[in-house]
């Protein structure tokens, strides 16, 4: 595999990963825009945009652009295409085994040439209404969003799709403003991976993106987020068979360098696996004492300089679980053999990434988008990790700020 990362003069970041062993070529446009960015200053005026607009634009641009409905157009021509929106990015994808350059050009132009009208906006609302209803039916999505909301005071957390009443009110001017603000080359990353000619793709990117200037200057309202959580507890009432509890930790990691943040993703995984996976004492304690019949769900993510960890399970013995998890996060137990086993697992994982460019590019782009670290994870980095460094690193992290969310029976 041959990889390159560079910036165009207009600020567009380009990530290329050539893998000539494969037949398909994948491209992705990442726009650094999600509901988290809904508060900004433009032309000396402050804007607070409603939730769901980033996601709305994702639909609108794919379905109403220079080429009509791009999804339909591409699918009619045997090219896979889709999009998704996260808390802080909007992503567009395409994948094909034929005529990559032709469709890649259309793909870039469609996303970067807004032609949508008020009528298109009204039409787009219809399918999104159904998506909002679907989202409202997801108990665990509600739990996830409520968990994040309980942690943050100034950073806007949403369910990504918005709600029915604000969707109804959404108008052309708001959508166009958000498009103009966020869909600029210096706020985008373009990724190409798989079977392609590097020089040809580079020329094509210059040819299409080189003509696009950044349209306007804006300032994201720098929200100073406190280390303490917004709300210590919350409860959702749902029609569930088994009740659920999640303990959510908010840890400031702004002091870490990009490289250290990448290391953190490995270390925190080792730490959480040791303490909460099926091999852990915690899991076995829950099973032995019939406190839960299920695994412990455990995940982490980075949001605006904070490491967010969520540990949860299906149980009604809320206090016991909360104490159990909190003691672990305070005492930070680990063992040397487990650490070494985790390292070996990471090395195998990286070996597997080398055989699949899609797998490889996912981790590589994550490093760039989340940590501004323009290198892929490498086996030699993992090999250099030591148990001592791991313990020092984990001990630097504070898990004293947390919220507790409960999903109880209606």
């Amino acid at each position: 595999m041959k990889k390159e990362v560079y910036n165009l003069k207009n600020g567009l970041k380009v990530v290329l990963n050539q893998d000539l062993r494969k037949k398909s070529t994948f491209a992705k446009i990442i726009v650094k825009y999600g509901d988290i960015n809904n508060n900004f200053i433009y032309n000396d005026k402050e804007y607070l945009i409603q939730d769901g607009v980033a996601h709305f634009l994702e639909h609108l641009l794919l379905e109403h652009n220079l080429y009509g409905n791009l999804c339909l157009n591409f699918k009619n021509n045997y090219v896979d295409i889709n999009g998704n929106t996260s808390i802080d990015t909007t992503n567009f994808y395409m994948n094909t085994v034929h005529d990559f350059y032709k469709y890649f050009k259309l793909f870039i132009k469609a996303i970067n040439t807004p032609v949508f009208t008020e009528k298109d906006i009204e039409e787009t609302k219809l399918a999104i209404k159904e998506e909002i209803r679907r989202s409202n039916d997801s108990k665990f999505k509600k739990m996830y969003v409520s968990s994040l909301k309980s942690l943050f005071t100034n950073i806007n957390i949403s369910n990504t799709v918005g709600d029915l009443s604000s969707l109804e009110k959404l108008d052309y001017n708001t959508v166009k403003l958000c498009y103009d603000i966020f869909y600029q080359p210096n706020n985008q990353i373009i990724v190409v991976s798989g079977n392609f000619d590097i020089d040809k793709v580079k020329k094509l990117i210059i040819q299409v993106y080189g003509l696009i200037d950044n349209k306007c200057n804006y300032l994201l309202k720098s929200t100073i987020e406190k280390e303490v959580v917004n709300k210590k507890t919350f409860t959702l009432k749902e029609d569930v068979e088994e009740e659920f509890i999640a303990i959510n930790y908010k840890t400031n990691i702004a002091f870490l360098s990009s490289c250290e943040k990448v290391k953190l993703t490995f270390y925190i995984k080792y730490f959480l696996d040791y303490n909460f996976s099926e091999t852990s004492k915690t899991y076995n304690f829950l099973i032995e004492n019939k406190l839960s019949a299920y695994n412990i769900s455990c995940n982490y993510q980075i949001i605006n300089g904070f490491l967010i960890i969520s540990v949860g399970t299906h149980t009604s013995d809320f206090e016991i679980f909360e104490d159990l998890v909190n003691n672990i996060m305070l005492e930070k137990p680990m063992d040397y053999e487990f650490f070494e086993n985790c390292k070996r697992e990471s090395i195998i994982d990286l070996l597997l990434r080398e055989e699949d460019h899609m797998n490889f590019i996912g981790g590589f782009v994550d490093n760039i988008v989340s940590f501004n670290y323009e290198f892929p994870d490498e086996i030699k980095d993992i090999e250099s990790y030591t148990y001592r460094d791991f313990m020092e690193f984990i001990n630097k992290l504070s898990f004293k700020n947390y919220s507790v969310g409960k999903m109880i029976k209606k």
Binding site: K22, H98, L126, D137, E278, K281, A293, E345, E355
Partner: protein, 413 residues
């Protein structure tokens, strides 16, 4: 009734360019719907502990120590026969020097052949733990609106009992099983059975020999009776069921069955599925979502060997009639000879690209091989040829014999 037969030798499928090896043991046997409950127990019991590593913690730590990337158990039913599949995925020892293939294979053998059994029964404590887990799962599924709607639909639609069997229908049957009844079942389907072995990856002779020396077995031919004549029959009058729920979305299931179904129509159902649901045509989604904005998503499910096709549309509670009409019109549109011919041409072109794309999938060769061994599924090439030779008049006749059978609507709030 016809039969299926194959030899239980070790099949080696070489595939270079990857860093893992996969070993599979497939145990074929006859199948009864009541076995589902035993199978679910067995799957849990055998995947979480074994005799040597008799707690979940010990078992999973050992897997990690032995650098096992993945070990899994699942099962499939084809033509009324059951295939229990054990897989072990490990690093290629030629790429990771510290990895011992022998240790990993011995672990694989221990987990399949030496389960957590004492005195002719599975460990009682572990059994109770798995029972609690399965019970929770069954009760939990009843609260999931997607599962609930599906279960309600399939119980109405499947009036002959071909596909509705699953453990979520009857909790009492789960409770009838005991640690010894599950062991007896294990003995029948695993211990006293002859598995087929498959090795996949950049494998050398030494690695094959190592596998064969650890999994020493008697080579013989296996014959199983095929139950390939289980067909749905359209009811005389369309069954229209409407219920209310408290979900935000509404669920519309619309099913079609074929008059006088037999195996020759399998390819017609496959083509119909492609026309309605594959990327390049996607007529159901295009008509429901793109042209009419009635859904966010929809699905088409086809049981091509049994003669059933159904559409699932997640819609607004007031759109049932419109969605029904769109689905009906979509099927009617296919009866236009010119349109159908053009659509089949698109499917054929898309199929060519699909075959190219499949080369990027690490396990496609393995899946194709397993498919050819245990099922009657067409190979890609065969399927392509059958579409190419499809007589559009006969396909239209097939469409005319497709009858609307069950409409289930779970109306949201």
């Amino acid at each position: 009734m016809s039969s299926t037969s194959f030899c239980n030798k070790t099949y080696v499928i070489k595939n270079k360019g990857y860093n893992t090896l996969r070993f599979m043991l497939i145990f074929p046997c006859s199948y009864d719907y009541e076995d589902l409950y035993k199978l679910n127990y067995l799957g849990q019991l055998i995947s979480n502990t074994c005799s040597k590593y008799n707690t979940e913690q010990k078992f999973k730590l050992e897997k990690q120590r032995k650098m096992i990337i993945n070990s899994s158990f699942d099962f499939e039913v084809y033509n009324g026969n059951l295939y229990l599949k054990f897989s072990l995925t490990v690093p290629d020892p030629k790429k990771i020097k510290s990895f011992s293939l022998e240790d990993a294979l011995i672990f694989f053998k221990e987990y399949i052949y030496f389960p957590n059994v004492k005195n002719g029964m599975f460990d009682i404590k572990q059994f109770e733990r798995e029972k609690e887990y399965l019970t929770s799962q069954i009760k939990g599924r009843a609260k999931d609106i997607y599962d609930y709607a599906y279960q309600r639909f399939i119980n109405h639609c499947d009036d002959v009992g071909i596909i509705k069997g699953n453990i979520f229908n009857d909790l009492s049957k789960l409770n009838k099983n005991t640690p010894s009844s599950i062991y007896q079942y294990y003995k029948k389907v695993i211990l006293d059975n002859n598995p087929v072995s498959i090795i996949y990856g950049d494998i050398n002779e030494g690695e094959v020999n190592l596998f064969e020396s650890i999994f020493d077995k008697t080579i013989k031919n296996i014959n199983l009776e095929k139950k390939d004549n289980l067909f749905f029959v359209p009811r005389k009058k369309v069954l229209n069921i409407e219920e209310s729920g408290d979900s935000n979305q509404s669920f519309l299931y619309v099913s079609y069955k074929l008059k006088n179904m037999n195996q020759k129509y399998k390819i017609y159902f496959l083509l119909l599925h492609r026309l309605l649901y594959s990327t390049e045509t996607d007529f159901i989604f295009n008509n429901l979502r793109v042209k009419n904005n009635l859904v966010y998503s929809s699905k088409v499910v086809t049981y091509s060997s049994n003669g059933l096709m159904y559409v699932i549309a997640y819609i607004n509670k007031d759109c049932k009639e419109r969605a029904l009409k769109v689905i009906e019109q979509t099927l009617d549109a296919l009866k236009d000879k010119k349109f159908l011919q053009e659509s089949i041409s698109k499917i054929l072109k898309g199929f060519k690209y699909y075959i190219i794309r499949k080369n990027d999938d690490k396990y496609s060769k393995l899946y194709d091989f397993v498919d050819s061994l245990i099922s009657d599924n067409y190979t890609c090439q065969k399927e392509y040829e059958l579409y190419r030779k499809m007589d559009v008049d006969l396909f239209i006749e097939f469409l005319n014999n497709l009858e609307l059978d069950t409409v289930y609507f779970l109306r949201g709030k």
